[in-house]
């Protein structure tokens, strides 16, 4: 391409004191402004958005008492949206500002992204006549904490104003690119391999809207035999201090004027007061420094981090009001701690407040002293150009874009986390990364392409859309992105996603790729982020809302309150055992058995009811339980007594007590193992006690498998058998793995026959119905290991579902009597049907 055919590029930086444009050669182009740059809301519907750029004052929103459009009041708003406020609004989910010029007409509105885009457009138009191609490619410097969505909105607003080739560049990256232009010579002496670090540069931004700090690694990069030193940006680690400068300046301007709020607005945003004050080191600048550094002892870093929620998140206005009080010390300490032992090669300072001077020295010196003490002083670069604080940034952006257009390496960036909710092969929801973040850095401005594996996405026949649940970095809640098809899909089709993303340039481009492209008539289908809907749910809530194919584990929890009534009794038993008074302990053990079995009613009353007893299903006491040693002594004593084979206390009683304790008693477990093959020879009382112990204590997969086989041989399982099995299945995560599908099906069939027999013959749903249903439901956990188990359209599944439907109707018409508890059996039965249909959601609570 000939030189004169190359697209013209420029970097643009919007500061509170002016808009700066830098061309590819680093030359600054002057944008005239008589007051801080601001966007002007339209007065008429359809009127273009105006700006204050230029050498003429626009009366709108000045704060003067006349004309009416100049007025600024809380009720009707203002027509003027200054750039720092627009930046803050962009980070508040692209806030919409409104102004009511006429009381009887609707208010005019303007989004923050539109305001910023109009400022860029207006600034470029000033140079449009002399250099008409200036706007072909623009790189706009943006705050370091913009989310994907905010980037997308800003880019879209710029595109709508004719800047289709616009790109965004992180503020610290732009600053460090400028730093490298000045100090790269010092680095070139060090020869480094590809990707090796040569140190770090601290980028400080002291803007009105935010104080921002980021530590960027400088990485050696070889491209076509040429060595480059590129800034590498990680995800932000240092919280941004919002509005600190703005509030300080507001206080200063109030000190200048005593005419009230409107006059302050006029002075600050409609005149050149701000730029003059920040440059001329007047009394006002001392005011500002004092205000910023005021009450440094007021808060600790802990409070600072607490108020910011420990995240890189925009705080609420209430937090911001407190922010002025906080001072800078905690923030500087935090920056210092992030720098830590990193090898600091330099500091670059940008922003409107970087030239502030007071009697005790400059703000920059103070900040550098407290954050980057010991860094080489000759490598400190402060933005001194006018309009202050934005020139280095614009030059950095111009450098970036120039290199990008020439296909040269620009900077290194970290890809954001974008995850989608998918089902694993084990039927559990899982957040799967859409972008491959195995490499710490990618080249900025370059498109990265991925086809994520293991998404397991498919579109079922006759469906007309694909719905994805996506969690993005910077969003607390998840969003749903939907892609409608032109026509419904004829048959089930597996699809993959192809993700293209450019770091720092908005949302990724996600193409839906079917295995057979003819399904979509050979058309390319992309997810439409503009129509993404915020679900308002967190990631965990979204995962919970996914229909499951089997019920979740339902472990029993331990209750502190129950333990307090048991501990003295256990201590008494231990004491008796120690004194060999075994006969006297039987009554106490009987008493203990009942208490251990009882559930804590407090837990049952919760929104998600849980079974809570003294000991949880893993055999542990509650976390805050006292005298845990008593419990251990008690289990050990019972275990020792169990091995003796004496009749005092009776063995079935010991089994029950140990069972309710879910104890891992070695002698009892050994006994139970040996009895697994001889259960049919046990007497009824002993069998009942043993089944209690099996249900609560069996953990070893082999034992569980043998127990299931023993149960399968029993074509008429009692309720105790069924209870023991469902407890094993709902307590132990891998229990269903060792039970083959055939056995599961056999047991299911036997349970089904038992409950059908009860319903049909007795006309009531009692404990057999409850335990049998739970058994059928929890055996569905076999699907975790074999997806095809209990096909919803299979005969057994259909029979069970039909029976359950019939039962629900019977219960509703009172023909079937519900006994044995207060659980709403029809609802729970309906839930079991849904689980059989692979559409279940939530816990199954069949017994109180």
């Amino acid at each position: 391409m000939m030189r004169n055919e190359e697209p013209h590029s420029c970097g643009v930086s919007i500061a509170a004191t002016g808009v700066v444009i830098a061309n590819a050669n680093g030359e600054l182009l002057n944008v005239p402004a008589h007051c801080p740059p601001a966007s002007l809301l339209p007065r008429l519907a359809g009127e273009p958005i105006g700006t204050t750029l230029g050498d003429r004052m626009d009366p709108r929103g000045t704060g003067l008492p006349w004309p009416p459009s100049a007025r600024t009041d809380p009720e009707n708003g203002t027509a003027r949206l200054p750039s720092p406020i627009a930046w803050l609004g962009l980070e508040q989910d692209d806030r919409e500002w409104s102004w009511r010029p006429d009381p009887i007409k609707p208010a005019r509105t303007l989004r923050s992204s539109e305001a910023l885009a109009s400022l860029v457009d207006s600034a470029l138009r000033f140079h449009g006549n002399s250099d008409s191609r200036l706007g072909d490619s623009v790189a706009l410097v943006v705050p370091n904490s913009l989310t994907l969505d905010q980037q997308e909105r800003l880019l879209r607003a710029m595109k709508l104003r004719g800047m289709g080739g616009a790109m965004l560049l992180w503020r610290p990256v732009a600053a460090v690119l400028s730093w490298l232009e000045h100090h790269q010579a010092k680095l070139t002496l060090e020869s480094k391999k590809q990707g090796e670090s040569v140190g770090y540069v601290l980028a400080l931004h002291l803007g009105l809207e935010s104080f921002e700090a980021d530590l960027l690694e400088i990485v050696s990069w070889w491209d076509k035999g040429v060595q480059w030193f590129l800034p590498a940006r990680s995800l932000p680690r240092i919280p941004t201090l919002y509005e600190l400068g703005l509030r300080a300046v507001e206080t200063a301007v109030m000190g200048q004027k005593s005419g009230g709020q409107f006059d302050s607005w006029y002075l600050m945003w409609s005149t050149s007061w701000l730029a003059d004050t920040l440059v001329k080191r007047s009394t006002s600048s001392e005011w500002i420094v004092q205000e910023i550094t005021r009450s440094q002892q007021a808060c600790s870093l802990t409070r600072l981090r607490e108020s910011l929620g420990g995240k890189m998140k925009r705080p609420s206005r209430k937090d911001l009001a407190m922010g002025v009080e906080r001072g800078l010390d905690p923030w500087c300490q935090y920056v210092r701690s992030v720098i830590g032992d990193h090898r600091l090669r330099g500091v670059v300072v940008t922003g409107e407040l970087c030239q502030l001077q007071s009697n005790s020295g400059s703000l920059v010196d103070r900040l550098v002293e407290s954050t980057a003490k010991g860094s080489p002083s000759e490598c400190l670069l402060v933005d001194h150009d006018t309009p202050i604080g934005a020139s280095l940034l614009a030059q950095g952006a111009a450098t970036f874009l120039d290199r990008h257009l020439k296909n040269l390496p620009t900077y290194l960036d970290t890809l954001p986390a974008i995850e989608t909710l998918v089902m694993t092969k084990k039927g559990e929801p899982h957040w799967q990364d859409l972008v491959d973040r195995s490499d710490p850095y990618v080249l900025g401005g370059r498109t990265q392409k991925f086809i994520p594996a293991d998404l397991n996405l498919s579109v079922r026949g006759e469906e007309k859309y694909l719905n994805l649940t996506v969690a993005q970095e910077g969003h607390d809640t998840v969003r749903e992105v939907r892609r409608d098809f032109q026509q419904s899909i004829k048959s089930d089709t597996d699809v993959r996603l192809q993700v293209e993303i450019v770091a720092g340039q908005g949302n990724p481009r996600v193409e839906v790729l079917p295995d057979d492209s003819a399904v979509f008539d050979h058309q390319s289908l992309y997810l439409d982020w503009n129509r993404a809907k915020d679900t308002g749910r967190t990631r965990a809530q979204a995962a919970d809302d996914i229909p499951r194919i089997y019920p979740p584990l339902q472990p029993r929890v331990s209750s502190v309150s129950r333990w307090s009534g048991v501990s003295w009794l256990m201590a008494s038993v231990v004491n008796d055992f120690n004194q060999r008074r075994y006969g006297a302990t039987s009554d106490q053990l009987e008493q203990l058995k009942d208490i251990l079995r009882e559930k804590d009613p407090d837990h049952a009353g919760k929104k998600e009811p849980q079974h809570a007893t003294t000991v949880d299903s893993e055999g542990n006491l509650a976390l805050h339980a006292t005298s845990k040693a008593v419990f251990e002594q008690f289990i050990a004593a019972l275990d020792e007594r169990f091995a003796t084979g004496r009749t005092e206390p009776p063995k079935e009683l010991l089994l029950r007590v140990l069972g309710y304790c879910s104890a891992q008693s070695p002698r009892m477990m050994e006994y139970m193992r040996t009895q697994l093959s001889a259960l049919h020879r046990m007497n009824a009382a002993m069998l009942t006690a043993a089944l209690v112990a099996y249900g609560n204590c069996l953990r070893d997969p082999q034992d569980i498998g043998r127990f299931a086989q023993a149960m399968a041989k029993n074509s008429q399982p009692s309720s105790d058998w069924m209870r023991a099995l469902y407890r094993i299945l709902c307590y132990r995560q891998e229990a269903a793995e060792v039970i083959p599908s055939a056995i599961c099906e056999q047991i299911t069939r036997a349970c089904f026959e038992r409950i059908r027999e009860q319903i049909d013959q007795e006309g009531r749903a009692s404990i057999i119905y409850r335990h049998g249903s739970m058994c059928i439901a929890y055996l569905l956990r076999r699907r975790r290991f074999e997806d095809g188990y209990m096909d919803p359209k299979g005969k057994l599944a259909c029979d069970i579902k039909a029976f359950f439907e019939r039962t629900i109707k019977g219960m509703a018409s009172r023909q079937i009597e519900c006994l044995g508890g207060f659980v709403g059996l029809p609802d729970v039965t309906r839930l079991i049907i849904k689980y059989i249909d692979r559409q279940g959601k939530g816990w199954i609570q069949m017994v109180d």
Binding site: L44, P48, R56, P67, D102, T271
Partner: protein
């Protein structure tokens, strides 16, 4: 009925010291409207005690001879009373079928011609801003049906001096840009086939319909030959080419209106025989008359009512061009008819732009961005929407960030109450029925440096001239009776058709016993930037300091 009578009885017709007839009604009257043609009267001032409505000048002879009825409306939208009024004004619009000699024969007609010239100029220039010619750069922006016109370009267009080669009127642009297209249309207008029934020799009959068959049955005779009669003709359907289409009716109207406009232009400027524009309009007029004589369009009737563009007028290469110019010409001519009734208000708008022009020249430091929101058609004499952002200039030596920064506001009559509430002008000044108020203030200190109430009207005869000349002093004396401070002065801007072109404004100043200034400004009605040298007015009233006059931009 008694209530209705009491409302009518509470209404009063009063003349302001300037001679303007004003209808005062009780405060619960929200609207007043002329019954024919149905037009709302503009509100001059609205106070808690009463409302003042401005009355128009008579548009027709019968309105001068008899009473016109005015309906009074309450807040619920009901007519609560009617009020008969005899309109005054004394001038009727000149008729364009008169000869040149008729027009120049007496003084009254010279007055009418002068007024008509000013109105024509104003409408023409606003039209030029709303529909700029191709060489004027970017297309204007429109919003809510209004044209957004930045003031720097608008003032250049409005006050552009183009008289050397004859004024650039709409008809000149039509003659230059549309003549060729119009010629092509007139020589070969678009024609449509029309089905008509007429007698034809029966061997040439191609189609008959029910009516033709009924006619044939009614004819005596048994065979067709007998029924055809001796001429051998029967009634049948034939297709004839016809130029009588909606688009050609528009073209016919356009040609006639253009001829009328050419005549008007040549009457005003025909003496400049060397002027290319005059020559081009003269040639165009000859062509138009020729086309009307020889084209099929002479048989086409005129359109009825206000034509709406059909597909041909919107999208046909030739007709779409004609439609655009026709629409503009028709709007201008209709606007001129309406403007004649509201000619005083149009003069107020002209004076507003004239004052704005002078103040823009005297602006200091950074200029203030101003823009006009213009209607396509005048609303009771005003093209400027009330939301127009015109009327703020920074003056004086102090910068904007200084608390002593000074601004000049040019307030329209409908802004006075709001401005008074904002503390910008004295409350008495807000209720003085002034057409315009100029006020110099330090808004940040809430200090009014000086203010002048401006009243505008025509001096159409000796009586009205004498009245207006005395009105300034009378008003200043009446101001003295209130508690208005002395820096509130009075000015009368008098449109004088008899002032010779090129003379410029004639300004006389008087001071009342209390030191209040009263100024008379006689404006010539030959518009142009040299005719609006209002600097003495601004200087005498303290709106612009003498030293600030030289700060021309």
């Amino acid at each position: 009925m008694e209530a209705v009578d009491s409302i009518a009885a509470a209404c009063r017709l009063r003349r302001l010291p300037t001679g303007l007839l004003v209808l005062w009604t009780p405060p619960d009257i929200q609207r007043c409207s002329l019954r024919t043609p149905r037009t709302d009267l503009p509100v001059l001032i609205r106070t808690q005690q009463s409302v003042a409505f401005e009355l128009p000048a008579p548009g027709k002879q019968r309105e001068m001879d008899g009473d016109v009825l005015i309906d009074l409306w309450n807040g619920d939208g009901h007519i609560v009373a009617e009020f008969p009024v005899r309109l005054i004004g004394g001038l009727l619009r000149p008729t364009w079928d008169a000869t040149d000699d008729d027009l120049e024969s007496n003084e009254e007609n010279r007055v009418e011609l002068g007024v008509e010239r000013l109105l024509g100029y104003h409408i023409e220039r606003i039209n030029e801003i709303v529909y700029p010619s191709g060489s004027r750069g970017r297309r204007p922006k429109r919003a809510e049906g209004l044209t957004i016109a930045p003031w720097p370009e608008s003032r250049r267009t409005y006050w552009e001096r183009d008289d050397e080669d004859g004024p650039l009127r709409l008809i000149v642009r039509i003659a230059e840009e549309c003549a060729e297209t119009l010629g092509r249309v007139c020589t070969s207008p678009r024609k449509a086939l029309r089905r008509v029934r007429q007698k034809e020799r029966f061997n040439r009959v191609q189609q008959m319909d029910d009516a033709c068959v009924r006619w044939l049955i009614r004819q005596p005779g048994k065979t067709i030959i007998e029924k055809a009669g001796p001429r051998r003709e029967v009634m049948c359907v034939v297709r004839l080419e016809s130029a009588d289409t909606p688009e050609n009716r528009v073209v016919r109207d356009f040609v006639e209106r253009s001829i009328r406009e050419c005549t008007l232009y040549l009457r005003s400027n025909g003496h400049r025989r060397q002027s290319k524009r005059v020559q081009s309009v003269r040639k165009f007029r000859v062509k138009l008359i020729g086309w009307m004589r020889h084209s099929d369009l002479q048989y086409v009737p005129l359109p009825t009512g206000i034509p709406t563009p059909n597909y041909v007028l919107q999208f046909d290469d030739r007709y779409s061009v004609i439609w655009l110019w026709y629409d503009r010409l028709r709007r201008q001519q209709i606007g001129a008819e309406g403007a004649w009734r509201w000619r005083r208000r149009m003069l107020v708008e002209y004076c507003r732009l004239a004052l704005a022009e002078r103040l823009s020249i005297c602006e200091s430091h950074y200029g203030v961005r101003q823009q006009l929101f213009l209607r396509t058609d005048a609303d009771r004499g005003w093209f400027l929407d009330p939301r127009s952002e015109l009327g703020l200039w920074q003056v004086g030596k102090h910068e904007m960030r200084s608390s002593q920064a000074e601004f000049v506001y040019l307030l329209n009559s409908d802004e006075l109450a709001d401005a008074s509430a904002a503390g910008l002008i004295h409350a008495e000044l807000a209720s003085s029925c002034a057409d315009l108020v100029l006020v110099r203030v330090r808004p940040l200190e809430r200090i009014v440096v000086s203010a002048v109430a401006i009243y505008v009207d025509y001096a159409v005869d000796t009586d009205s001239r004498n009245l207006l000349q005395k009105a300034a002093e009378a008003l200043a004396v009446s101001f003295d009776r209130t508690n208005m401070p002395g820096q509130n002065s009075v000015a009368i801007m008098m449109g004088d058709p008899l002032l010779a072109p090129g003379m410029g404004c004639q300004i006389s100043t008087k001071t009342t016993s209390s030191g209040r200034i009263a100024i008379n400004v006689a404006l010539p009605l030959s518009p142009g930037s040299d005719a609006i040298d209002l600097d003495p007015l601004l200087k005498a009233t303290g709106i612009i300091a003498p030293l600030e006059m030289g700060a021309a931009r």
